[in-house]
């Protein structure tokens, strides 16, 4: 019962936060909403019996990639008008706080529910990190290889298209 309730709560938060993320005009707000949505998604993964994915969702997506996004937005030096608009206090500021609070609260609820003393139902299927690694590098090894090649060529292409003009001129050989 507790798990079902948490599932729908986290699902609702994920949908609302993502919708808000893509409608914000201030990029920093958008990123914060996206972090919210990742937290809710991590909870969903956990409830579906994939603890490793849940941890990665938090560590890699919310922790690393979104922080990178924030850095990039800060380095881009947004025009003063948009920055001022972002600094004005509005009631909307409370929305991410509330969403994140609900996500964290449901997380706590879940943990209490999973406590051996109070546990009512365990997930029907549980993918341990070992199961996960086995599926990834045995069953889907070829898929992982294709994806990694894809990333390699994407990185090469991005560098080639984005490199400074100075390097282009040096390259003018043969």
């Amino acid at each position: 019962m507790m798990a079902t309730l948490t599932f729908y709560l986290a699902g609702a938060i994920a949908v609302i936060a993502t919708a808000l993320a893509i409608t914000r005009s201030n990029p920093v707000h958008a990123v914060i909403y996206l972090v919210n949505s990742f937290f809710a998604l991590a909870l969903l993964f956990y409830l579906l019996g994939a603890p490793l994915l849940a941890a990665w969702e938090l560590i890699i997506y919310a922790g690393a990639i979104m922080v990178l996004f924030l850095f990039i937005i800060m380095m881009l030096k947004l025009s003063p008008s948009s920055a001022e608009k972002g600094l004005v206090a509005t009631r909307g500021q409370w929305v991410p706080v509330v969403l994140l609070a609900v996500a964290l609260a449901s997380c706590t609820m879940l943990l209490t529910g999973l406590d051996p003393a109070t546990a009512q139902e365990a997930p029907r299927w549980h993918a341990s990190p070992r199961d996960f690694g086995y599926a990834l590098f045995k069953e889907y090894a070829l898929a992982v290889e294709i994806a990694s090649f894809q990333l390699l060529f994407a990185a090469v292409g991005a560098f080639y298209v984005g490199r400074p003009d100075k390097m282009r001129d040096e390259e003018d050989v043969v």
Partner: protein
């Protein structure tokens, strides 16, 4: 994955590992021609292996098939990549492309296309589709100083990312409904009493949007002219032929696997085919830019091919493959002529710039005229047999209205295919002398011309080959 499975993937492995080697070695040896030549040899080698080495297993890792059909597609797409590399020699010099990067990206695109046509799992389908689309994003914007190219690359990226979202969600829904990613099993599980389950139908609807984008069917075609215009001409050639062909080749068995349950999807495809043929034709009429006209022409041709996809089975499949081959020769040849006429500061593509060019460069102009006539479906050329095959199959399978619209679109298309020919040969000569073609461009264009003529006069061998692929 066993050693036998790796052996079955030998052509793809050769291309992708070769691409990596070229990429790494290209960082030290900045010799453009050397890497283009290496890439050419690798792509030809992959085609040769796919044609001669019998794969020891029928399916690799539950994701890719090694059937005759898949091997034929591998040969076709690697040959297109080889032809592109051959064609790009002077063009790459002109725009000072990094030879290693250009070659390796094209080789990887070839790998993705050949895997896509062989996919037997939705996972393999998604990954290989993304593999070559990703490379195309970069190749379209490869000429950095060209603003049109950058715009085209960005446009394709944004539209492509949305399409990727659609296909991923569609696959997720199909997986939810069927519980498996393997295409044959999933399609069987989607059906209950000869009808499609609602969730599967929703998944298919999302997939159709993505397919529509990738092969530019009509409501999703708006990117096509801008991207073709902005992309480097050799890359445009790949996009119009192999990239679309690979998607069509992958979805032909997919639609066949649906059987009777695919009725609703076929209704949508029926509507898309009509829209694509008509809108493509009428949009092409007013074009005054060769590449934009070719873009709308490719939209129209996708409409014809959709008829073959709708018919399905052996008849539809054979008509589709034959049409795809002859269409590819003519379209690739047309892009080849544009490549060969390229200048340092852009490509000759406006009809105003083509005026009277036929007197200055008679051989390449005649080749272009031949390709245009084949695309229009004028009788002695290969394009006629392609169209005949599709419309004949349509009549046999009760798609009279589609055949009539197709014939009507072909008749109207004569107008816009003849226009560049008239501009080239029958107007006052005020074009400037362009560079004379290089040897490899001559070989390639001559090859395309011979193929267009040969398959028009004597289509037997190709038809026999296709019949053994799709009995």
């Amino acid at each position: 994955m066993s050693l036998l499975e790796l052996k079955a993937l030998l052509p793809q492995l050769l291309m992708v590992l070769g691409a990596t080697v070229v990429l790494v070695a290209g960082a030290w040896v900045r010799n453009r021609r050397l890497w283009l030549l290496t890439g050419l040899v690798l792509a030809l080698g992959a085609a040769f292996i796919a044609g001669t080495v019998e794969p020891p297993v029928a399916e690799v890792a539950g994701m890719f098939s090694t059937s005759l059909y898949a091997r034929f597609c591998t040969i076709a797409w690697s040959l297109v990549i080889a032809a592109t590399l051959l064609l790009s020699g002077r063009y790459a010099d002109l725009h000072r492309y990094g030879g290693g990067e250009y070659t390796s990206l094209l080789l990887f695109a070839g790998t993705g296309m050949s895997l896509l046509s062989a996919a037997t799992s939705f996972l393999g389908l998604f990954l290989s589709l993304e593999a070559f689309t990703l490379v195309l994003y970069i190749l379209i914007a490869f000429n950095r100083v060209d603003n049109l190219g950058a715009e085209a690359g960005l446009k394709y990226l944004v539209f492509g990312a949305v399409a990727t979202g659609f296909i991923a969600f569609g696959i997720a829904l199909i997986y939810t409904a069927s519980g498996t990613l393997h295409i044959a099993e999933a399609l069987a599980a989607l059906q209950v009493d000869g009808a499609m389950r609602p969730l599967g139908l929703a998944g298919w609807a999302l997939m159709l949007v993505a397919i529509g984008f990738k092969i530019s069917l009509v409501p999703f075609h708006f990117w096509t002219p801008d991207v073709y215009q902005g992309a480097p001409a050799p890359v445009g050639g790949v996009m119009a032929t192999a990239a679309k062909g690979a998607v069509l080749a992958a979805f032909l068995p997919l639609l066949d696997g649906l059987g009777v349950a695919g009725g609703e999807i076929k209704q949508v495809l029926w509507l898309l085919a009509i829209l694509t043929m008509l809108v493509g034709t009428f949009s092409a009429l007013s074009q005054t830019n060769l590449k934009r006209m070719l873009a709308y022409s490719s939209v129209t041709h996708m409409g014809y091919l959709l008829i073959a996809l709708l018919i399905g089975g052996a008849d539809g499949g054979q008509a589709l493959l034959f049409y795809l081959v002859v269409y590819s020769f003519a379209t690739f040849g047309a892009f080849g002529v544009i490549t060969s006429w390229a200048l340092e500061d852009g490509e000759v593509q406006n009809y105003d710039d083509l005026r009277g060019l036929g007197y200055l460069h008679p051989r390449r102009s005649s080749a272009l005229a031949l390709f245009m006539l084949s695309l229009a479906g004028v009788p002695p050329l290969a394009g006629f047999f392609g169209k005949f095959g599709i419309f004949h199959a349509a009549l046999q399978h009760g798609y009279l209205e589609l055949a009539l619209i197709g014939v009507f679109a072909s008749l109207v298309s004569l107008y816009y295919y003849l226009r560049p020919i008239i501009v080239l040969f029958m107007q006052e000569r005020d074009a400037h002398q362009l560079r004379s073609g290089s040897g490899e461009e001559f070989v390639l264009l001559a090859g395309c011309c011979v193929a267009t003529l040969f398959f028009g006069i004597y289509p037997g061998p190709l038809l026999d080959l296709i019949m053994t692929l799709l009995p």
